[in-house]
Symmetry: C2
Subunit: 725 residues, 2 copies
């Protein structure tokens, strides 16, 4: 398998026999090969290992004619030479008709047993599958059992054999992979992506200097995995240019652009045809506006459509449509995302609209469709990505940010962007602290060189520029142009010694150091380190993506999980209270602490991130992050709605605690929501299976636990207020 | 070396040569042997490895006649047969005359070079030593340099050669070791204590079943190391029977006793002669009172004398006198400590007086003389030792509680006492939690057996007793007599099945689970685990012996160290604030949290420990513990005074935070001191070299740091109050 959460490929090898099989090697001569997604057929060499006379099953919505037309010669050739049998089924359609949504596995399992009666007669298999379904789903009610039985029956009824033309034997069996012309991508990334990583020689790693685990950035966008069934279509006439769609997109695959005439002139037709006049005042006078979806990278989560302001105002502005109908939009994304200037200076970047025009330094990560963590990560990348050093925990973040060879990070035209590292053992608070210390050390060395230089005879302009630099050294926005000038003057100066600075050019600008991870890391495993870092007074920013559960490892309970929630290790509902990590950090007095929820108050979330980053000391920002593990009713396209509701009922309270205010004699705490209505708490949690299952699995204690849960939430809130106000 | 902090023996092996020497084996044929303490001569075979014609130097206050009379035959025989030279010096007297207190090393170093001119001519050695002293102490001023120069000169002037009688060759060279008759002690403990552990065969460890690191208790008291120069002498006529002396003793080597006529009749004469009528009401009618010092185990710290209430009232009640003059008192300790009933039921054990009559389940630990940690440990052992399980961190606690073969723990006549474990890696919060869980599991199993039994036909009295047991299962005081009855009835019952209980007899009583360590463990290294344990709601008691520094490893700074303090890693004064561990634990809401200082308010300290232990949930008690690393002016005999002063000036604030009060709608916090006078803060810290050195090593920032330190202390206090009241 690959570790991506959305559209990751899993390849299973199964052997059957009368006695136990202990082989650990792959099946290279299979009786049967099954493929659950037809797009794989084009990318992967699916039937290479099918034996002569074997059977191939494909899940597809194509009819015979379309399919035969679309099939690569490689597939046809192999089917013919192998004298194979070829079956298809439209399991997606069946699943959705039965009411199983996107769950096709029961259907395909039935097909499997039907086509492989060498294992056992189908009647027997059918009986066993139905019994098993009954056992598994009885708890969820008769209707669910019935649905699974239907799926089993459909798995045979929906099968269709496709005739193989013996003439195909004459076709050229070429593997037609799309070449980008980038050697790294074509000979390394693509090979791994095509599940052929085993074939890579060690020399490949040496060739690109990857022996130390390095990954190149600017990669994932070019994969264009086209894994969405549906993607958004923009109806420009109804758009109010609010940029909310791009603000919520976990994958940065929908973006607003401001285009000048030249950029329009150079654009592909599809872009030229799809622009409207930019609104928002004199700043954008003469510019055109466009929302561009990267349709081949979008994972189809639907969040942008759910949150679209135009839609909310009752006008059909963004609409989910059949993905395949929109793949031709991708040329627009290629052009706009990669060749057009991001015009981040037209609107204040404290607003959702302003942020929309900032380049995301993180795009197309491997996170789940609709993941609640990634919008925060993407947002931080837009605000600070240009100068960021990230020490990343292990968890979903490390998977979607760094599963070799894929990193979602991109550099801009100046080669600037996020430098990122992860170590397996949740010690990133520690090494992030090291990143800060070493950055300080480098700056101190530069300061030393400059101070010494000033004691010599230098050009007056250079002296002045050095002074300006030293004065603004910790203010990146101010110092950036000064650095350009300083470097220029140092290149020209007659003083030879000061030219040592040129060897440290990239260190002249202070870095924005971030320590990022989930609640399993921050509340539990890595908390000792986190605490040690905030106890010190160094300028680091800690971002906690709080899913209230160990998401990556399949949903274990953490100290962040709330009372009454069901997770692994707390199968009968957690009895303890959620740890008040924010308040614990606040006790230090010198730590900037915030809790944010993008879906509840995006402007305050942006503000918190900016305040935290600007604060010259440790900052901790806890981000409420809905996750696929929560079992949110209606799925993750509702994640922003959930954040809003969580805040309204006091389940999660957004606030900012700023030591700078305390130093001014003001209360440190600013609450960023209305007084919560704890009366709505129970209804809120019942929208998620992690809570709604409780009355079923633990009827005796469910009510008590859920009442306690609300009480604990309230106590958490009251304590924060008492301490901070 | 052995790892004891008080009176630990260090044996150094030195080789000299023109070229570098890389031998790692011991010197077995020494030109020169030096012994810094004359009592070693009696216990250890000091000159076994002296070569023929070699030189032996002894530091002693004895004159020739006394010395020769006292010297064991073994020593005399060897001196004569080896044809050795024998020198003595009274370095202690010289050091104290020069003003160097107990520091004899410079003096003895000079003697060494004088007697070993084979290494270099003495003039040269003298010059080098003086230069080195100048370099080392210049910072501390001319007077200190001068003092060291004097010490160097005295090292030769004070030497005296003792004539060796050739007749000694005829003496029997027997090693006269005192035998206790206890095989474990005589053939194992003593051998290690005599620095002959290397000679122990592996079979010895097997013989006593020690392969798993087990140590037997009831050991240290019998070592009688006699390492004190001075010990307390009790003037009974001036004693007010307050028991303060025993309350503050770190080594439990001074204890009050209440004796009935029979106990007096059986006592050694020295006890008979030294009793007074017990005062305190009808409870002690007819009993006699005595303070008994174990003079051969006392380490001579002087704390008891400094804190004696009689002394404080101006009457000479306890007095430090020459130790050797009091060694005959030891028979009294042998009798009273080990053979007389501890009469803990005569006074309320919430008072210092009452606690005094409780048996300490910990005695004669290897801690420093006057250690601030051990009085808390000893006190806890008196209150709960009978039923304690201890999970101990690594640090001074693990050294003075568990350096093989010595543990200070003792069992009472019923074989009850402290079960103790330590693992090196500061994970005792974790395994202490495991002790709790397994105790719960055992109790649950017992409950199950009893509940099931009740469904059968049982004798009515047994049923009633089972009910009483189940009702009081978590109340050790109440359930103890019930258990006796229960076991009795189960033995007699006709029901065979219930007799399974008899196999779990020792588990019928709930255990008092303690997790104990220093601040390096609790604030830093082990904090992640500690936090995890308090986040759960299990009934464990966490005792933090807060020396504000990693004491055992030589004084590294911890997150508990206060701003401005000098320690390893913060050599120019710590800039960060002390972590508010108590408040961080309080944020959970369900944790009982207290800070205590024995020297400031002993009654409240006892109360806190009792409340914590009784609380059915996690408790955290932070104990302010002066330490030799603090450089307390006047030494550790002032440690209780320091605790008092620390509280008065707000350096440390004693309080109790009880979730039970919050549940009743009351404020959880009770402050156990008057409003601190932060104006006294600076004067207080200046009494300790860890702070007073700051203006010398960091004059530029000292004032700022010390001002900040007081502000941080105040903020800590205010935050506790704000949260808790
Ligand atoms: C020291 C250590 N223990 C356990 C693990 C295994 N592990 C990898 S990811 C993970 C879950 C992390 O959960 P969380 O921090 O909440 O991040 P999320 O996946 O929810 O984003 C765990 C336990 C590890 N990497 N390191
Ligand atoms: C994980 C781990 N790191 C380091 C050590 C080394 N070590 C042993 S004792 C000690 C000092 C402990 O100090 P503290 O907890 O304050 O106890 P104290 O000695 O002051 O009583 C350290 C660092 C260790 N035992 N385990
Ligand atoms: S559907 Fe989801 S991934 Fe696709 S553009 Fe919209 S928000 Fe982004
Ligand atoms: S959210 Fe909707 S209205 Fe707003 S910019 Fe996007 S498409 Fe337009
Ligand atoms: S945090 Fe949850 S939703 Fe996001 S990638 Fe991980 S498992 Fe998926
Ligand atoms: S001098 Fe110290 S060790 Fe000795 S009895 Fe007194 S307090 Fe205890
Ligand atoms: S402290 Fe002094 S007065 Fe009090 S019991 Fe001890 S010896 Fe007596
Ligand atoms: S805590 Fe300090 S005084 Fe006590 S034994 Fe350790 S080093 Fe000595």
């Amino acid at each position: 398998y690959d570790s991506r959460k959305a559209g990751g490929i899993t390849r299973s090898h199964l052997r059957f026999g009368k006695s136990p099989i202990r082989s650990t090697y792959y099946v290279n001569n299979a009786d049967f090969v099954s493929c659950s997604l037809d797009t794989y057929l084009f990318k992967l060499d699916m039937i290479r290992n099918l034996k002569k006379g074997g059977t191939f099953l494909l899940n597809t919505d194509m009819d015979d004619e379309t399919l035969i037309k679309a099939m690569p010669n490689r597939v046809k050739f192999q089917l013919a030479t192998k004298n194979a049998k070829f079956y298809v089924i439209d399991a997606n359609k069946i699943a959705s008709e039965i009411g199983m949504g996107r769950h096709t596995n029961t259907i395909l399992q039935a097909s499997f047993f039907y086509l492989n009666q060498g294992i056992m007669p189908y009647e027997q298999a059918q009986e066993l599958m139905k019994k098993y379904a009954e056992k598994s789903y009885a708890k969820k009610g008769e209707a669910v059992v019935k649905m699974n039985w239907d799926a089993i029956d459909a798995g045979t009824q929906g099968l269709r054999e496709v005739e193989i033309d013996p003439e195909w034997i004459k076709l050229k069996p070429l593997v037609e992979t799309h070449k980008t012309g980038d050697e790294y991508f074509d000979s390394y990334v693509t090979v791994i992506a095509n599940m052929d990583g085993d074939d890579l020689p060690v020399s490949k790693f040496k060739e690109f200097g990857l022996e130390d685990g390095t990954m190149r950035n600017n990669v994932t966008f070019y994969e264009k995995r086209s894994i969405a069934d549906k993607v958004p279509l923009w109806h420009k006439e109804n758009c109010i240019q609010c940029n909310q769609c791009s603000f919520v997109c976990p994958h940065a695959t929908i973006r607003p652009f401001l285009l000048n005439d030249e950029e329009i002139a150079n654009a592909p037709q599809i872009v030229k045809d799809g622009v409207i006049k930019a609104t928002g005042g004199p700043n954008v006078e003469g510019l055109k506006f466009r929302i561009q979806v990267s349709t081949q990278n979008c994972v189809g989560c639907g969040l942008c459509v759910v949150e679209c302001m135009g839609n909310k105002m009752g006008k059909n502005t963004l609409e989910m449509v059949e993905a395949k109908s929109q793949f031709d939009q991708e040329v627009g994304a290629d052009y706009l995302y990669k060749n057009v200037a991001y015009k981040g200076d037209k609107f204040p970047t404290t607003t959702v609209k302003g942020v929309g025009f900032l380049m995301p330094y993180m795009e197309v990560s491997g996170a789940c469709a609709g993941c609640g963590e990634t919008p925060y990560y993407r947002l931080v990348s837009q605000l600070f990505g240009r100068d960021m050093l990230v020490a990343n925990a292990t968890g979903c973040t490390s998977i979607y940010c760094g599963s070799t060879p894929l990193t979602p990070f991109v550099a801009d035209k100046n080669g600037e962007g996020i430098a990122w590292a992860n170590s397996l053992f949740e010690d990133n608070a520690e090494f992030g602290f090291g990143m800060r210390i070493s950055t300080n050390q480098k700056l101190a060395h530069i300061v030393e060189i400059l101070e010494k230089a000033k004691e010599r005879e230098l050009e007056p302009e250079l002296v002045e520029t050095i002074d300006q630099y030293l004065e603004n050294i910790k203010n990146r926005d101010k110092v950036r142009p000064i650095i350009t000038k300083l470097v220029d003057l140092i290149k020209k100066t007659k003083d030879e010694e000061i030219k040592e600075i040129l060897a440290h050019k990239r260190d002249l600008l202070d870095k924005s150091v971030w320590i990022i991870g989930g609640d399993g890391w921050s509340y539990d495993i890595g908390y000792g380190g986190l605490d040690h870092v905030i106890a010190n007074e160094e300028d680091v920013n800690i971002l906690v993506l709080d899913t209230e559960v160990y998401s990556n490892t399949g949903g274990q309970s953490s100290k962040s999980s709330q009372t009454g929630s069901i997770a692994k290790f707390t199968a009968r509902g957690k009895t303890q209270a959620k740890k008040n990590l924010a308040l614990m950090a606040m006790t230090y007095g010198h730590v900037y602490v915030a809790q944010i929820a993008l879906g509840a108050n995006p402007a305050k979330a942006i503000l918190a991130l900016k305040e935290a980053e600007a604060y010259d000391g440790p900052s901790l920002i806890i981000c409420y992050s809905p996750c696929v593990n929560h079992g949110i009713s209606g799925g993750l396209s509702n994640s922003m709605k959930v954040e809003k509701a969580a805040v309204e009922c006091g389940y999660f309270v957004p606030f900012r605690y700023d030591p700078r205010l305390v130093a001014e004699g003001k209360p440190g705490l600013t609450l960023d929501s209305k007084e919560p209505d704890f009366g709505k708490f129970r209804d809120f949690v019942m929208q998620e299976t992690r809570f709604s299952m409780l009355p079923i699995v633990n009827p005796a204690e469910a009510d008590k636990l859920l009442t306690m849960s609300a009480e604990h939430a309230k106590a958490r809130y009251e304590r924060i207020k008492k301490f901070g106000l």
